[in-house]
């Protein structure tokens, strides 16, 4: 019963916490997306009011009120329909996202690396998105950034958006683990291979919707293996979303028993994954 659970957990200010306490942007956006999809407009509208009020002057959102810096959750807010969020708010969110990259792909960093005699890795040439500005790009914020911009680009294409999405996808392909799937960021650390994680693999596959080739195929095989051994709600949700995005969700799939849905994003994303598997996704059109 995820929807009643979400309704019960809404804070008096209209937002949601992860489990308890004050409202944060990530759980609030996921809850609004899930409730709006389920047709509960009153609770969703109160959540939307919280989200609208939390937008910062630079167009982005902070992780929670008071933190004082726009960050990766802006991608989530940009997944909200423009007509619900507000056209101007949505436009500014898209602009913030388009302008944000990981530090390792910034001109300043690459020039510094070059001057210090360091090599510019091919992994730095395609800009992804960081968790917070001033740090490197990682798979999760990059995947969410792509999903947000790709959705917008299909609805209202503007110059530069498509190339930013392509660059983000190149980032993901560059960071694919040996054998397929994705870790959080690096494919290797000090010469050792990094292993793939289920949730990041699912998320990247969702962001690579429509991208075909051996890398996608290899990662789909990894995702299908993960799906059979799934132990967490986050992993299950994103594997289902990733496989649905690629049209590869096994028919009649039954989740392993005993998976606990402990946080608001886990509960809400399960609703969104159900929708995606049934052919209706808020993450892509």
């Amino acid at each position: 019963m995820p929807i009643p659970e979400l309704l019960q957990q809404q804070n008096p200010d209209g937002g949601w916490s992860y489990r308890r306490g004050g409202s944060w942007t990530e759980p609030t956006v996921y809850a609004v997306l899930a409730l709006a999809g389920a047709g509960d407009s009153a609770a969703a509208e109160r959540g939307l009011q919280w989200i609208r009020a939390a937008q910062r002057d630079d167009g982005g959102w902070q992780a929670r009120p008071g933190v004082g810096e726009s960050c990766w959750v802006t991608s989530l807010a940009a997944l909200l329909p423009a007509q619900r969020l507000g056209e101007e708010r949505h436009r500014r969110a898209t602009a913030w996202l388009s302008a944000t990259t990981g530090m390792e792909s910034s001109v300043l960093y690459r020039v510094r690396q070059w001057m210090m005699g360091g090599q510019t890795s091919s992994q730095t040439t395609a800009p992804g998105w960081p968790w917070v500005p001033g740090s490197a790009a990682w798979v999760i914020p990059t995947s969410l950034g792509i999903l947000a911009l790709d959705r917008e680009n299909r609805l209202r294409p503007v110059p530069g958006l498509a190339s930013r999405i392509d660059a983000g996808r190149r980032f993901l392909f560059n960071r694919m683990c040996k054998g397929g799937g994705w870790n959080h960021g690096s494919t290797r650390a000090l010469g050792y291979e990094s292993g793939a994680y289920p949730e990041t693999t699912g998320m990247a596959l969702a962001a690579l919707r429509g991208c075909h080739g051996w890398q996608t195929d290899q990662s789909l095989a990894v995702a299908l293996r993960f799906l059979d051994q799934c132990r967490t709600a986050d992993a299950l949700n994103w594997l289902r979303l990733g496989l649905a995005a690629q049209g590869r969700m096994p028919e009649g799939y039954r989740a392993p028993p005993g998976i606990a849905y402990r946080t608001v994003p886990e509960v809400a994303t399960s609703v969104l994954a159900d929708g995606a598997v049934a052919g209706k996704s808020v993450f892509w059109i």
């Binding site: 968790w131 917070v132 740090s135 490197a136 650390a189 967490t232 986050d234």
Partner: protein, 323 residues
């Protein structure tokens, strides 16, 4: 709390005095001592061992809020990645027996977002009765922006979780492991887990960009005194902290000065602590944590030291005989 000043009160209200004195802290603890005890296995004997360790260190927990901070990293219950749940439970019981008003287990893993699932996979739910009720995910806790009392990195301030800032005593319970960026991960590096992923992301990459050693030293200035209890019963060598190999050591190392405890652990691992960047930064002068300057109690280092395998990049850290 009986009116005891919390770390948050102290940091936000008296930062200037703190910097000036450099020694204010919520509980009185002894300095520069490290105790090594044998603990051959994760079994029931740990409860008595830990109770004696806690009592002998004189941690003033009575009537106060204690936060126990283990090292939870990965979903690998059979590996030596995470602090063992039986040891954490033994610490909880020991501090409750000492009369702590509240004992909270708290952790903010660095790159896995589903903390409770991670704790469950690591055996915490099964081993610690009522675990979910006494656990706080530090990645998602309420936060306060704290000025760093002394700065080693470019960071001036850092958001920290209120659960930890409000504790009278922080008990750091790291795993004794090698680390592929810092050489060794012990009580000071364990503090990366108090930095909230909800604010900084997974991993907390801002700390890496600010300098890993420098950030560890920064955090140490916020928590200069903790009770530290290192899980060295089975440590990790080689490509730690995740992909290394289990290293049975059969020891626990405890103390109230993280510098002394970490230096002692390094010596047990046959790693030269004077070559660990963050220890050098914190101490200023490596002589501060020279073996002769750490009051060693319990078992002697020489009796239990065994070299941890080091990845090629860290072979220079090897403690030479007699060093």
């Amino acid at each position: 709390m009986g009116g005891a000043m919390t770390r948050r009160d102290w940091l936000t209200g008296s930062a200037a005095a703190l910097v000036a004195t450099g020694c204010a802290r919520p509980v009185h603890l002894t300095q520069s001592e490290a105790t090594i005890v044998r603990a051959p296995a994760y079994d029931q004997s740990l409860y008595d061992i830990v109770r004696r360790l806690v009592a002998s260190q004189g941690a003033a927990a009575r009537g106060r809020a204690v936060v126990i901070k283990p090292n939870l990293v990965e979903f690998e219950p059979e590996s030596a990645i995470n602090t063992h749940p039986l040891l954490v439970h033994a610490a909880c019981e020991a501090f409750r027996a000492l009369g702590a008003s509240q004992v909270t287990i708290a952790e903010g893993p660095g790159h896995r977002r589903d903390t409770l699932d991670l704790a469950e996979a690591a055996g915490y739910f099964q081993t610690i009765p009522g675990f979910e009720d006494c656990f706080v995910d530090l990645n998602l806790d309420e936060v306060t922006l704290v000025d760093l009392p002394r700065r080693f990195s470019k960071l001036k301030r850092v958001y920290l979780p209120n659960t930890v800032l409000g504790a009278a005593l922080v008990v750091s319970m790291p795993k004794m492991k090698t680390h592929h960026w810092t050489g060794a991960t012990l009580s000071m590096k364990n503090l990366f887990g108090v930095v909230p992923g909800g604010v900084y992301g997974w991993p907390k990459n801002v700390l890496h960009w600010a300098g890993i050693h420098e950030s560890i030293a920064d955090l140490h200035t916020v928590f200069p005194r903790q009770f530290t209890l290192v899980d060295g019963i089975v440590g990790m060598e080689g490509n730690g902290p995740i992909q290394g190999v289990s290293k049975p050591m059969g020891v626990l190392v405890a103390g109230t000065d993280p510098l002394a405890v970490d230096a002692t652990c390094c010596r047990l691992m046959r790693i030269d602590p004077t070559r660990i960047g963050y220890l050098r930064l914190v101490a200023g002068d490596p002589a501060v944590f020279a073996e002769s300057n750490v009051r060693q109690t319990g078992e002697p280092i020489a009796a239990l030291a065994r070299p941890f395998a080091l990845i090629p990049q860290f072979r220079a850290l090897r403690l030479e005989s007699g060093a």
